[in-house]
């Protein structure tokens, strides 16, 4: 029986190797979709295949969980794909393929500017990732509810307190269930936290929860008095992501703090039911009115057997026309400065969606440099997870806010000690 197993394994391996040798150069692209990204790439890459005879690009659509959890394990074991769409930009840096020898770095610098830094860590300062999906967090507001309640929407430069008060008034007057809601995510609350004074970095440039206290207290208080939809943070455990989009689409939430990737969904599902619009992130007592940038990018891995082809593929996707096409079809904000300057005519986007995306794009200059740095920080995933876990415990009453803050610092110190 053992011989049988070994033999079968050997045959399978042999066949696999033989198949690999005979077939065209096969490039494996591990991709996840928020909407239709992988389908669009599959389509665009067929053009790449046409331009490069003998290259076969296979797009493996996987759940996001696989990207987050399995990809790192596979890369560590040396069995990863050739390239992938990732969100842990700094965290996987050690595996990235350095594209510097293969691409026109001047073009890349001019086109992608700041987002290139997100993929760089420590000594590795090459060119690694093509940021395909630029996102920014920001509020969706139910304008119809404001109208029905007869309350004026706070204008530009309004604070979180202003919006909280206005939303409460609207909710009371219209029996909407929740004045405000925010997704259950450390990334989502980072913007407001920075506006309330969170520093996220200490003097040495390491991650820290210094200054997170004021926002934490305000947020927990809002959850307790009903200003914030408690369900979102309280109904899950661990660091699991949960969003409040469904409640907003049902017209139950007045002010929903999420981000630009939701525009497509809002467009499709809210449709004409009510008027919704996007405003800039509200301001906090610390003076900042910041959201958090983010998104995903395509990276190649050093382990690939075909580095030149992988680099060529990524360069192909970085071409202005291709990038613009991808942005239009996936309805994502472009990170490509040239494309952004010309404006993108998003495909199948209603006027409301177009306005929303433009509003998001227009809020990009307000993003605090701390937020930019935080997005590119290699340890940000750990910090997001810690934030969500401990803040949730404070909200449901398992820990007091001070205890939660103390635990957050402890957790972060422990995590950093392990990754030394």
């Amino acid at each position: 029986m053992r011989n049988q197993i070994m033999k079968t394994g050997a045959i399978a391996l042999g066949l696999g190797l033989a198949a690999g040798a005979v077939s065209a150069q096969e490039i494996r692209f591990m991709c996840y979709s928020d909407g239709n990204e992988c389908d669009v790439y599959d389509d665009l890459l067929s053009q790449f295949e046409a331009e490069n005879a003998g290259v076969d690009v296979i797009v493996d659509v996987v759940p996001y969980q696989a990207i987050l959890e399995n990809l790192p394990v596979q890369l560590a074991a040396g069995t990863g794909p050739d390239l992938a769409k990732v969100t842990d930009l700094g965290g996987l840096n050690e595996y990235y393929l350095d594209l510097t020898p293969y691409v026109d770095t001047a073009y890349w610098d001019a086109s992608f500017g700041g987002t290139l830094d997100w993929y760089r860590v420590g000594d590795r300062q090459g060119y690694y990732g093509l940021h395909t999906q630029l996102t920014i967090t920001g509020p969706f507001v139910n304008a119809t509810l404001f109208e029905q309640a007869g309350v004026d929407m706070p204008g530009a430069g309004a604070t979180w307190d202003d919006w909280a008060e206005a939303s409460r008034a609207v909710a009371a007057a219209t029996d909407a269930d929740f004045p405000m809601a925010i997704d259950r995510s450390g990334h989502r609350v980072a913007g407001p936290a920075i506006s309330y004074g969170a520093q996220y970095f200490d003097a040495d440039g390491n991650g820290s929860f210094e200054g997170f206290g004021p926002f934490a207290e305000q947020f927990v208080a809002w959850n307790e008095d009903g200003t914030m939809a408690r369900d979102v943070w309280a109904s899950q455990g661990g660091a699991t992501y949960a969003d409040a989009a469904q409640e907003f689409i049902n017209g139950e939430v007045v002010f929903y703090y999420s981000g630009s990737w939701q525009v497509g969904r809002m467009d499709e599902q809210v449709g004409d039911f009510f008027d919704w619009k996007v405003v800039g992130s509200p301001c906090g007592p610390a003076g900042a009115c910041s959201g958090m940038p983010g998104g995903a990018g395509v990276v190649g891995f050093e382990q690939t057997e075909n580095p030149e082809i992988v680099a060529k593929l990524i360069d192909f996707l970085a071409r202005e026309e291709i990038y613009a096409d991808a942005s239009a079809r996936t309805r994502n904000l472009p990170a490509h400065l040239g494309v952004a300057a010309k404006g993108v005519a998003f495909e199948n986007a209603s006027p409301a969606a177009q306005a929303a995306l433009n509003a998001f794009a227009g809020d990009l200059p307000n993003v605090s440099p701390i937020a930019f740095a935080y997005q590119g920080y290699a340890g940000n995933r750990a910090m997001f997870g810690i934030t969500v876990e401990r803040l949730s415990q404070a909200i449901v009453g398992e820990l007091s806010v001070e205890d939660a803050l103390a635990r957050m610092s402890d957790d972060l110190a422990a995590a950093m000690a392990e990754t030394e």
Partner: protein
């Protein structure tokens, strides 16, 4: 189908008979055992051994060779508690919360599930019509994958789900089930019982049906009361099966992960976080991935399970066939 298998069996018989002649009656048993032992050895035991090595290392690297040795540091971290009954006073507070949650969960879930399984098996054992149908009905949820089970009930129990709609309609008023710590825990126990009860019902039913009829007839002749019959005759004869049920249910109960994780994610807060979820989050879902901690915690769980099972087997030693 038989036509394909029979010749294969005949072919295998040749070397097997030869081995029997060489090894003799006693040792041929090892040949039968060998494939199983090899499979378990490579895919179940070897990982455990490796796991033990992982538990005394630190860092976040997957490859064992690249991990620094930290001795008992991981275990010491678990033991670092001001008061073992208060998770808040511990360094690894989540670990201890998970331990408490799991203990309660297993006690409630195994107790309720075995009780209802026994009740159902007793009822199914009666002379009722469409027994096959009812038996299938109770077994049906066992077929569903844990993710599906969690999804179904999450769908029903969400704030705007059908249960709350029904309660609103009857005037009782809905409750936000999954946001309340106690209710979330209670429902987790419920869905776990719902999903697994049928399996144990089937086992108990088989056990009940293996009890010879004449035993009952004798009891009826003696005019024994039904409760007495149950206590003095049925329960003792059912004891070996009950042992199997308890051992399996306990082990599976402690290992519960998929369905509760998909159902509440361990929330609200850490109200429904069970020990396997803790291990999973530490070793896989968390950032950074702390394989050392996960391995250490998993070793502790394995030790506890072994002890519990041995205790059960010893307490029932008459029923473990030698």
């Amino acid at each position: 189908m038989l036509a394909i298998i029979t010749p294969i069996m005949r072919i295998i018989e040749v070397p097997m008979s030869a081995l029997q002649r060489i090894l003799g009656m006693k040792r041929i048993a090892w040949v039968f055992l060998a494939p199983n032992l090899i499979l378990f050895g490579v895919f179940a035991f070897l990982p455990v051994i490796l796991n033990m090595f992982y538990s005394v290392t630190g860092g976040d690297n997957v490859l064992l060779s690249a991990r620094p040795n930290v001795g008992m540091r991981n275990f010491a971290a678990f033991a670092d508690c001001g008061n073992f009954l208060d998770p808040n006073s511990c360094r690894e507070d989540k670990f201890w919360r998970a331990i408490w949650n799991t203990s309660w969960f297993v006690t409630l879930q195994v107790g309720i599930m075995v009780a209802f399984s026994l009740l159902t098996a007793i009822i199914l054992n009666r002379d009722i019509r469409a027994r096959g149908f009812f038996r299938s009905v109770f077994f049906f949820p066992v077929l569903l994958s844990p993710v599906v089970v969690a999804l179904i009930w999450k769908w029903i129990l969400q704030r705007e789900g059908v249960l709350n709609a029904f309660l609103d309609w009857t005037g009782i008023g809905g409750v936000n089930w999954l946001v309340d710590a106690q209710w979330a825990f209670g429902w987790s126990v419920f869905i776990s019982v719902w999903a697994h009860m049928g399996f144990y019902t089937l086992i108990l039913l088989a056990g009940l049906q293996a009890i010879p009829r004449d035993v009952y007839e004798a009891a009826t002749m003696d005019r024994a009361s039904p409760w007495r019959t149950f206590r003095r005759i049925t329960l003792p004869l059912l004891a070996p099966t009950m042992l199997v049920v308890f051992v399996l249910a306990l082990i599976k109960g402690v290992q519960t992960f998929d369905e509760v994780y998909a159902f509440t994610g361990g929330g609200p807060g850490t109200a429904t976080t069970l020990i396997i979820q803790y291990i999973y989050e530490r070793g896989f879902a968390g950032t950074p991935r702390l394989f050392g901690f996960a391995a250490a915690a998993s070793l502790l769980v394995a030790v506890v399970l072994v002890l519990l099972t041995l205790v059960q087997l010893w307490a029932n030693r008459r029923n473990v066939d030698g």
